[in-house]
């Protein structure tokens, strides 16, 4: 049989059986998802139930809840988890408040040429290394940095922000702001101008228009952006390491310490599941808020 005939027959067979086409196109990504992605998560979950011999660092393959009970009973992990959670919430709220006016301006006020320029500027920091941006903030906030210099020129008492949780809050809010602006900008763009005109024709002030016309329509965009800011903050450990103070450990730092310094992979796996659980709950809530329609 000629090569051409074989190809034609294969094509015909696929045409007659749509499900076969589906299986063939879907199986490579599905296989990737199951074998590489889900399987590694399962391995991690299983590991979380083992322990290590603390002296030699060897994993002891015996089922135990001890890692989870340690996380639940030792107050230090409670405060680490709470700190991480509160920071993620604070950063998300800050970024929403900063992004709303910016995105509105970008989508509804400026001309198209300016819009392109501003969008370009907005995305520019994403080209720079994460570390460079954090170190830039260390230079701004630390005692001999830019901020104390300005403060002393103005005669204000120095604030000593570097190496505190406030410094982390500023740096995180700065780092993830573009991830909040872009989806909100997209949501604003989808709002027809005629709605704003109708609202104003009917006598609504700008606050009423924003609250009852715009906000419901951009809410999915806000929630979509908050998934980025919330999850990125929740999983971070470098910013706390670099600009955090003596009370700044995140879940990520606890994982890093137990996995790399402590050599305790099972405990790190158990801690990782705290992050995963928090994120799963957040995503469920986001789903109810309709975030995935805006992605």
């Amino acid at each position: 049989m000629s090569d051409r005939g074989l190809r034609q027959r294969a094509g015909a067979a696929l045409w007659r059986r749509p499900w076969l086409r589906g299986v063939l196109t879907l199986s490579p990504p599905l296989l990737w998802f199951l074998v590489i992605y889900l399987a590694s998560l399962v391995v991690m979950l299983v590991t979380a139930f083992f322990t290590v011999n603390s002296l030699t660092g060897n994993v002891v393959y015996q089922w135990t809840w001890s890692n989870f009970s340690q996380i639940l009973t030792q107050s230090v992990y409670g405060s680490i988890i709470l700190r991480t959670l509160l920071m993620a919430i604070a950063v998300t709220i800050t970024d929403i408040l900063l992004a709303l006016p910016f995105a509105f301006f970008l989508a509804k006020v400026v001309s198209r040429r300016w819009r392109q320029l501003l969008l370009g500027l907005l995305l520019m920091p994403l080209w720079a290394s994460y570390l460079a941006k954090v170190y830039a903030w260390i230079n701004i906030l630390s005692n001999k940095g830019v901020l104390p210099g300005i403060e002393s020129k103005l005669g204000i008492a120095p604030t000593h922000i570097a190496y505190t949780n406030i410094a982390m809050w500023i740096v995180f809010s700065y780092l993830w702001l573009p991830f909040m602006i872009v989806p909100i900008y997209g949501a604003f763009e989808r709002v027809p101008d005629s709605l704003l005109e109708a609202s104003s024709d009917l006598g609504a002030g700008s606050w009423i228009t924003f609250r009852w016309v715009l906000l419901p329509m951009v809410l999915p965009g806000i929630v979509a952006g908050s998934i980025f800011t919330f999850s990125l903050t929740l999983g971070d450990f470098i910013t706390p390491l670099l600009i955090g103070g003596s009370n700044s450990d995140f879940i990520g730092n606890a994982i890093y310490d137990s996995a790399l310094n402590g050599g305790n992979l099972p405990f790190a796996a158990a801690l990782a599941f705290v992050s995963i659980a928090i994120m799963a709950i957040y995503l469920l809530l986001a789903r109810f808020a309709g975030a995935f329609e805006a992605l």
Binding site: W19, L34, L38, A39, V42, V43, V46, F50, N53, S54, L55, T56, G57, N58, V59, V60, Y61, Q62, Q74, V76, Y77, S79, I80, I138, S142, N143, K144, G145, H160, A162, Y163, L241, L242, G244, G245, S246, D249, A254, D257, L260, N261, G262, G263, L265
Partner: protein, 397 residues
């Protein structure tokens, strides 16, 4: 395939996956426990003579421990090509060796706090010191130190060492502080930095051994529960005074450069770097003495290239390599003959890194070692490393 059938199939395979993951490790279980009574490899007969090199040598080392300036001549003369995996902490070295790395690597440049964990874990094996000629030139206290020699059996070759010093700003302190008490002094609230490392508990214990003699602390790494609790409480009280627990030497350097802190626990490396950059700092070993690190090249139990490993241990012990390493990293060589070479590499290098200091200087340093539940006096009422680690999380959290 309709959706409910697919769902059943998917959940079925997920269950199978989980089961296979559970059953396999369970079947392997039991082999992972280790006793602290005697090192598992103590009976292994060491190499009697070094043969022809295998052409390759795989190291786990601290960054800066395998620089081209001394690796290249080694490869040229022995034919052993050197591959290095850098590790960032003692514990990382232990987990690299414990998690199967022992079949891949030949030597690890572990510090004293990792040595016993590796020795009792069976990850390293005895070394024949007769095959390391330069070891006869070592300082007496590094010929068979308790952190790498057990019951007269050597598990590695001592390399370089250094003290953890008290680093201070000369603007704040006109004269050198004479006690570690400055790190626990409320006057310097928010101006202090110490390493983010459980072994820091030993520093508190060392201070308490002089400050509160009634506790009866003789060895900061062998603490009874009472002594341990006292040290941990001291560190918890210190927490509000800390600006930052540093993870990288570079962090402490920028903290001092920016005037964020005025005193801290440091390595001589930070002092040298800061002084070279013109910062107004100095360091001292206070009257209580200091903790310190002493590194050892330990030989992996399953080292695939033993001949090259012995050639490296012998080479790394020679005065020239020891001097180059000392100058590069900022530490003190074990080999006493390295002093004059250090001076040729850097003016005053020998004195700067204490290579010519009298033996009494070194006895003021309490070198890092693994805290074990069995104390040196044979009693088993000492607090072990697990609890050190857990307590440290509580302190800094």
């Amino acid at each position: 395939m309709n959706s409910s059938r697919f769902r059943r199939w998917a959940s079925g395979s997920a269950v199978a996956l989980v089961l296979s993951l559970v059953v396999v490790p369970a079947a392997l279980g039991g082999s992972a426990t280790a006793a602290t009574s005697a090192p598992p490899t103590q009976g292994v007969k060491p190499l009697q003579s070094v043969g022809k090199g295998e052409g390759t040598l795989n190291l786990i080392a601290w960054e800066g421990y395998a620089q081209p300036q001394w690796v290249k001549p080694f490869t040229a003369s022995t034919g052993c090509k050197v591959n290095v995996k850098y590790a960032g902490s003692s514990s990382e070295m232990v987990s690299l060796m414990a998690n199967g790395g022992g079949h891949q690597y030949d030597l690890v440049s572990a510090s004293g706090d990792a040595d016993l964990r590796l020795i009792y874990g069976g990850n390293v094996k005895p070394v024949n010191m007769k095959l390391i000629p330069s070891s006869s030139q070592f300082r007496p206290f590094l010929k068979s130190p308790s952190f790498n020699t057990i019951n007269g059996v050597h598990y590695g070759v001592s390399y370089e060492f250094g003290p953890n010093v008290l680093l201070y700003s000369t603007k704040t302190f006109k004269t050198a502080p004479t006690s570690w008490s400055v790190l626990y002094n409320k006057t310097y609230k928010g101006k202090i930095t110490v390493p983010d490392n459980p072994i820091q508990i030993a520093d508190a214990a060392l201070y308490l051994s002089k400050e509160k003699p009634s506790l009866g602390i003789t060895d900061p790494y062998e603490l009874t529960q009472t002594q341990f609790t006292a040290a941990v409480n001291l560190l918890k009280a210190q927490h509000p005074l800390i600006k930052k627990y540093w993870d990288l030497a570079s962090q402490e350097i920028s903290l001092f450069q920016n005037g964020e802190v005025v005193a801290g626990a440091a390595w001589p490396y930070q002092t040298n770097t800061l002084q070279a950059a013109g910062a107004k700092v100095a360091d001292t070993i206070p009257s209580e003495g200091a903790t310190g690190w002493a590194d050892t090249w330990l030989l992996a139990t399953n080292a695939p290239h033993p001949n090259c490993a012995y050639k490296w241990m012998a080479y790394a012990s020679t005065p020239k390599v020891q001097a180059e390493e000392a100058i590069y990293f900022g530490e003190t060589p074990a080999n006493t003959q390295a002093c004059s070479i250090m001076n040729t590499l850097q003016k005053g290098g020998c004195a700067a890194y204490h290579a010519n200091a009298p033996e009494s200087y070194f006895s003021t340093i309490k070198f890092w070692k693994t805290p074990l539940s069995t104390c040196d006096n044979g009693k088993s009422n000492c607090v072990d490393f697990t609890q050190w680690q857990q307590a440290w999380t509580q302190i800094i959290g």
